[in-house]
């Protein structure tokens, strides 16, 4: 019963992890599990904080040692390109190069892990440094130089970093919240820095070896971009096959430096070029054409890499042809435009002016169109003298505007033609408001002669306006004359 009560209580804590299980046997298991988890956690903590060797195992592996040995031997032996006849995959040198590529990627990962290690340790001393210096090798060098020093004016960082960054680092160091490290942790940190630097040196050696063999591995690619850049590209991509699989836009960006975030403006930052920037072709193009040249180079070198990965052209002719093509294109871009021929004037009035139409023009024309009021004022009724503004025939005449018996009581802003089409859809026309669309007008009007004049809605509906709208073409009109025959 106690266990049952326990189980109910446990059920209430549903948010906790599954290890808080109900029955005793399972409790034991849960206990075991928890121990295991704790054990792992302990391992991870150990990994991060105490032991460098558990973090960075690469230098101890057999594979690493083997390959480094072979690379050393091969570098001392010098180049030995006599086995063009053999199938590529069987050649031990080719195998070595493939291994080297994989190794360089591994080394890079290892460096990153070590960098994290160093960073975590050094955070107690100088936390802001990791955001100022991004590159892992630079960071390791700076950490080694600074050591446990609190006053950065005594430390000389010349040559390790660009001077702007040195300045920022010194300023930040003077206000840092870090404290000097204890002795063992400092030792471990320096140790890790050394390891990172040796790995970096090893990677350089591997790349040098690959570069010296580049003409043999990828002749076409090295004809276009040069063997150093080709080696770097291959190393970063992780092998010739991987490089061949990449789209050209990625090849362009291989090796591009990350953005410099130190509060510096990005308005002057270089465009997105990677290792391609170091090629001879790129350096010799004028700056205005560099973006286009970079894209062109990336695409052609991708083609060359693809040819090389399938070993389609061991002699390198393809590469030479592509290089020639690139050179020609860049030259063509630099040509001045053809001279302008003076043309004779066109015949007058031969090209009719293009008249525009459409809703916009119609609306614009409406603003200057003759309104109904003006139309009424322009016309006169037969035999009826018109009123005038100054009276007695002087001044402007009013025509049929405002005359009694004209059928309309008020002349207001007439509907535009466009609106008339809309109004046509609503068949109920203005019965009582005699043309006025605002709700404030009434259908009563006071004239001088008769007093109140009432409008006859029927008469208005048939008359279609007092002679200002034509009845023949009216869209809203009815038959005008129905005669019995």
């Amino acid at each position: 019963m106690a266990t049952l009560a326990d189980s109910f209580l446990a059920d209430l804590d549903e948010l906790s992890d599954n290890e808080a299980v109900v029955i005793e046997e399972e409790d034991v298991d849960a206990g075991n599990m928890e121990e295991d988890v704790d054990g792992e956690m302990a391992d991870i903590e150990n990994l991060n904080y105490d032991d460098l060797d558990s973090v960075s195992k690469l230098q101890k592996t057999q594979r690493y040692v083997d390959i480094m040995q072979k690379v050393e031997d091969a570098l001392q032996k010098g180049s030995d390109i006599s086995n063009l006849g053999m199938v590529l995959e069987d050649d031990p040198e080719y195998q070595l190069i493939v291994d080297c590529n994989a190794l360089s990627v591994d080394i890079e990962n290892e460096i990153i892990i070590i960098h994290n290690f160093i960073r975590d340790k050094y955070r107690l001393k100088f936390p802001e440094l990791e955001s100022l210096v991004h590159h892992p090798i630079d960071y390791a060098r700076v950490v080694k130089k600074i050591g446990n020093e609190m006053d950065l004016t005594l430390v000389d960082l010349e040559g390790l970093l660009p001077s702007a960054i040195i300045m920022v680092v010194s300023v930040t160091a003077s206000t840092t919240s870090g404290k000097p490290l204890p002795e063992e942790i400092l030792d471990k940190t320096i140790d890790a820095c050394d390891r990172a630097l040796t790995l970096d040196a090893a990677k350089k050696k591997v790349l040098d070896f690959v570069e010296s063999r580049m003409g043999y591995i990828a002749p076409n690619l090295s004809t276009i971009v040069g063997s150093a850049v080709a080696a770097k590209l291959m190393g970063t991509a992780g092998g010739l096959a991987a490089l061949a699989k990449m789209p050209a836009c990625n090849v362009q960006l291989l090796g591009a430096k990350k953005k410099n975030l130190a509060g510096f403006s990005t308005a002057t930052s270089q465009f997105r070029v990677g290792y391609i920037e170091q090629t001879e072709i790129f350096q010799s193009t004028p700056p205005s054409l560099r973006m286009r040249a970079c894209r062109l180079l990336a695409s052609k070198s991708t083609l060359a890499a693809r040819v090389d990965s399938t070993r389609g052209d061991p002699s390198g002719n393809n590469g030479r042809a592509l290089r020639e093509e690139i050179r020609k294109k860049i030259e063509k871009w630099q040509e001045p435009p053809p001279a302008k021929q003076p043309k004779p004037l066109p015949v007058p009035d031969s090209e009719p002016k293009k008249k525009r139409g459409g809703r916009r023009l119609r609306k614009m024309k409406e603003r200057y169109a003759i309104t109904d009021m003006r139309k009424l004022a322009n016309r006169m009724q037969f035999g009826v003298p018109e009123e005038s503004s100054l009276g007695d025939g002087l001044g402007e005449g009013y025509g049929m505007l405002g005359q009694a018996g004209s059928g309309k009581l008020r002349v207001s802003v007439g509907q535009s033609k466009l609106a008339a089409k809309v109004a046509k859809k609503f068949k109920e026309k203005n019965y009582g408001s005699s043309g006025a669309s605002s709700g404030l007008t009434s259908s009563l009007a006071f004239t001088l002669v008769q007093g109140i004049e009432l409008s006859n809605p029927q008469a208005h509906a048939h008359q279609l306006g007092s002679g200002t709208q034509s009845t023949y073409f009216s869209e809203t009109g009815t038959f005008s004359k129905i005669k019995r025959t």
Partner: protein, 143 residues
């Protein structure tokens, strides 16, 4: 000046050219040297034909007396074998007396003649303001 104006020395050449220029203004320049009309001749070439008539040749004297040309240079305009007159505010409408002040003036005058001629007029008014029109006095002799 890429080329020199075509120069006519014989009466027959003048006749043929007047007859053969169809739907283009024919500008007969009575004058001596090749002058600033050259460059504008090409610009106007789509609707005008500019020709220099050598006033020193004997056969041309007939035309010179017909058109009453006394001042050098003078310009007579034709369109489809009709003689076009231009009212520029001076006494003589049948021809343009004197040199043009600017190339653009010449082009304007030729264009005005063309437009009028396409409409069917035989006399057009000059588009230039009076400062740009060379002034002269007409003296009558033996009248």
């Amino acid at each position: 000046m890429s080329y020199v104006l075509r120069t006519l020395r014989k009466k027959r050449e003048v006749d043929t050219i007047i007859r053969d220029t169809i739907d283009k203004v024919l500008v007969l320049r009575f004058g001596r040297s090749s002058d600033p009309l050259c460059k504008s001749a090409r610009e106007v070439s789509k609707f005008a034909n500019v020709v220099l008539v050598d006033i020193d040749s004997d056969e041309i004297q007939v035309y010179a007396s017909y058109f009453d040309i006394t001042f050098i240079p003078s310009t007579v305009f034709f369109f489809n074998a009709h003689h076009m007159k231009m009212d520029s505010g001076t006494a003589d409408h049948t021809k343009w007396v004197g040199a043009f002040h600017k190339k653009q003036d010449f082009i304007d005058v030729v264009e005005a003649i063309y437009r009028g001629a396409m409409k069917g007029k035989l006399i057009v008014s000059c588009p230039l303001p009076s400062e740009r029109i060379p002034k002269y006095q007409l003296l009558y002799r033996d009248v």
